[in-house]
């Protein structure tokens, strides 16, 4: 597998991380090395193996559909970058 600078930029775009040309070039070198390491996985035949997503084979717990949290809006908004009238402010998204 060979990555290109445009691949790196595309991934950064998907991850919502701004990246400039120099950073993308530097990142390409490092990611290529890491993917060479990762490629060693392909040497093992795993066609008959079930994927393991979790360390314990437990099922999702269910709980009563009851309110357990209290209203802490003021506390939580006290650490927000920008709030107004109890709302989190972001740049306008609808014209």
């Amino acid at each position: 597998m060979t990555l290109s600078v445009s691949d790196v930029k595309r991934i950064a775009d998907l991850a919502y991380i701004e990246i400039d040309e120099d950073e993308a070039k530097e990142t390409l070198i490092q990611l290529s090395g890491i993917f060479n390491l990762i490629e060693t996985m392909q040497a093992v035949d795993t066609s008959a193996v079930e994927p393991m997503s979790h360390a314990q084979s437990v099922t999702q717990r269910l709980r009563e559909d009851a309110v357990t949290e209290t209203d802490q809006r003021e506390l939580y908004q006290s650490i927000a970058p920008q709030v107004e009238a109890g709302l989190y402010l972001v740049p306008q998204v609808i014209e």
Partner: protein, 482 residues
């Protein structure tokens, strides 16, 4: 006094030889004097610590003290702590005063322990040297030119330099055990699901597990008794009966079968580490244990599998840091997407960005099966290797790390070399099995060597027994760099 065990501190408090307020004040003084050199703590808050100490003194006076009441504990800055700055070692959270307590913090609070400060760590726990911290690197107390390991580097340094009687850590690929080994202390990552992940800032949720770091296995047992237990707010927390992890400490080791994976004693381990490990194994044989060779054929794949799964989960977990509700927001930006991109570019450091990009790529359309599913399949093969090995032995041992602590700056420019320092530790995260490190001597430049003890699921009490019996027979864990 700074070398006392948790039991000794507890006894001194119970006998009123010292108050928690006095004990806390002594440790705060020591931190104030030595932390500028070590950089083990990101936040120290004398007022909050002393308020907890006074409350602990009242508990003791009222006869309500437990084993940890009044004892200072350093908390890794990954645990959300109400009213405390909780940064996770990142610029992204450099202004985040947590509005709530993590499950682990609640448990220590209920036990009457004193939070002595928040320890330095690799940014979002991504690193093996503490050098990715936004708050700068930590020094290894045994040699100030060396790294303390990571990501729980501040915690390991704090315990080794006697800035705190004990500390908490978290371990996603070795982040408790590797720094414990490099700083010459004891640390255990319990079975996945025993310690609540609620309020423990997520890196890779299927691998992350909190655990204690301390001077001895006996201290670890007392800490585990407080830290473990069901938490309904953590969806993978296990519902099990409470155990006393100190219950088997005194058992003799005669007949213990120690498995030595041939893959862990092959090339890669440096000579000085090998010498110390061999001496430790000799000591175990003297204690009545027998050693047998076992095989973990897929163990060499643990690092590549880990570097698919951990970044994949990280890229998803760290998408919550968008500069909207808390954390860093860029000063100037255009539209909403630009605000996200700039806030994240400014808030995350190079290693965190690198892992988010790896994770984004392996989860992206067309690559998911080749990387993510492939890695999950290999994860099962690695786990099966361990299950097979435990048919022949009770416990597995090897080196915690391939070398002693490396120098500050030595590997920071080479991510792959850095990743390989977790070559022996990451398998226990993939399988979810408990694993620990204890000090067993010194290697090159008089830097500590750690013995890695890996147990089967829920065998913590036995592992602590195995570690404690060694510590009764030897004195490595009593050595201090200060």
């Amino acid at each position: 006094m700074f070398n006392a065990s948790l039991k000794q501190f507890s006894l001194q408090l119970a006998e009123k030889k010292i108050s928690s307020t006095e004990l806390t004040t002594e440790f705060l003084k020591r931190i104030k004097a030595l932390n500028p050199e070590y950089n083990a703590f990101i936040t120290v808050n004398e007022e909050l610590s002393l308020a907890q100490a006074r409350a602990a003194d009242q508990m003791i006076a009222a006869g309500q003290a437990g084993p940890l009441t009044g004892i200072p504990i350093a908390q890794k800055d990954i645990f959300c702590t109400k009213g405390w700055l909780t940064t996770c070692g990142s610029k992204m959270l450099s202004n985040f005063v947590s509005p709530y307590d993590a499950g682990v913090i609640e448990r220590f609070n209920q036990a009457g322990a004193v939070n002595i400060g928040k320890t330095n760590m690799d940014e979002f726990a991504m690193g093996s040297s503490n050098e990715t911290s936004f708050y700068g690197p930590v020094k290894n107390p045994w040699d100030h030119a060396a790294v303390p390991g990571g990501s729980s580097g501040g915690a390991a340094c704090a315990v080794a330099a006697r800035l705190s009687p004990a500390a908490t850590g978290t371990d996603t690929g070795g982040s408790i055990r590797q720094p414990a080994a490099l700083c010459g202390i004891s640390g255990i990552k319990p079975t996945y699901g025993l310690v609540s992940r609620y309020g423990m800032i997520a890196f890779a949720s299927s691998l992350d597990q909190g655990g204690p770091m301390a001077k001895s296995a006996e201290d670890l047992a007392l800490l585990l008794n407080i830290m473990t237990g069901f938490d309904p707010r953590d969806s993978t927390s296990l519902q099990r009966n409470a155990e006393d992890y100190a219950r088997d400490l005194q058992k003799p080791l005669a007949g213990l079968r120690i498995g030595l994976p041939k893959e862990y004693f092959a090339e890669g381990m440096s000579k000085d580490v090998e010498n110390a490990i061999e001496k430790a194994l000799d000591e175990y044989r003297k204690l009545g244990a027998q050693t047998i060779e076992v095989s973990l054929p897929n163990a060499p794949l643990a690092i590549p599998v880990y570097y698919v799964l951990a970044p994949a989960e990280a890229s998803s977990n760290l998408s919550r840091f968008d500069g909207v509700r808390y954390g860093h927001r860029a000063k100037s930006y255009g539209d909403l997407a630009d605000m996200y991109r700039k806030s994240r570019a400014e808030g995350f450091g190079a290693e965190v960005k690198r892992r988010i990009l790896i994770g984004t790529y392996v989860l992206s359309h067309g690559y998911y099966d080749a990387y993510y599913i492939k890695a999950q399949k290999l994860r099962r093969l690695i786990a099966q290797d361990f299950t097979e090995a435990y048919k022949q032995c009770d416990i597995i041992m090897g080196p915690t790390t391939p070398t002693v602590a490396f120098n500050l700056g030595e590997k920071s420019g080479d991510p792959i070399q850095m990743y390989l320092s977790d070559i022996y530790t990451s398998a226990a995260n993939l399988t979810g099995m408990p694993a620990m490190s204890i000090p067993v001597g010194f290697g090159d430049k008089n830097r500590p060597v750690g013995l890695h003890i890996i147990g089967n699921y829920f065998s913590e009490a036995q592992m602590l027994n195995v570690a404690h019996q060694y510590q009764l027979a030897t004195g490595w864990h009593l050595q201090s760099p200060v």
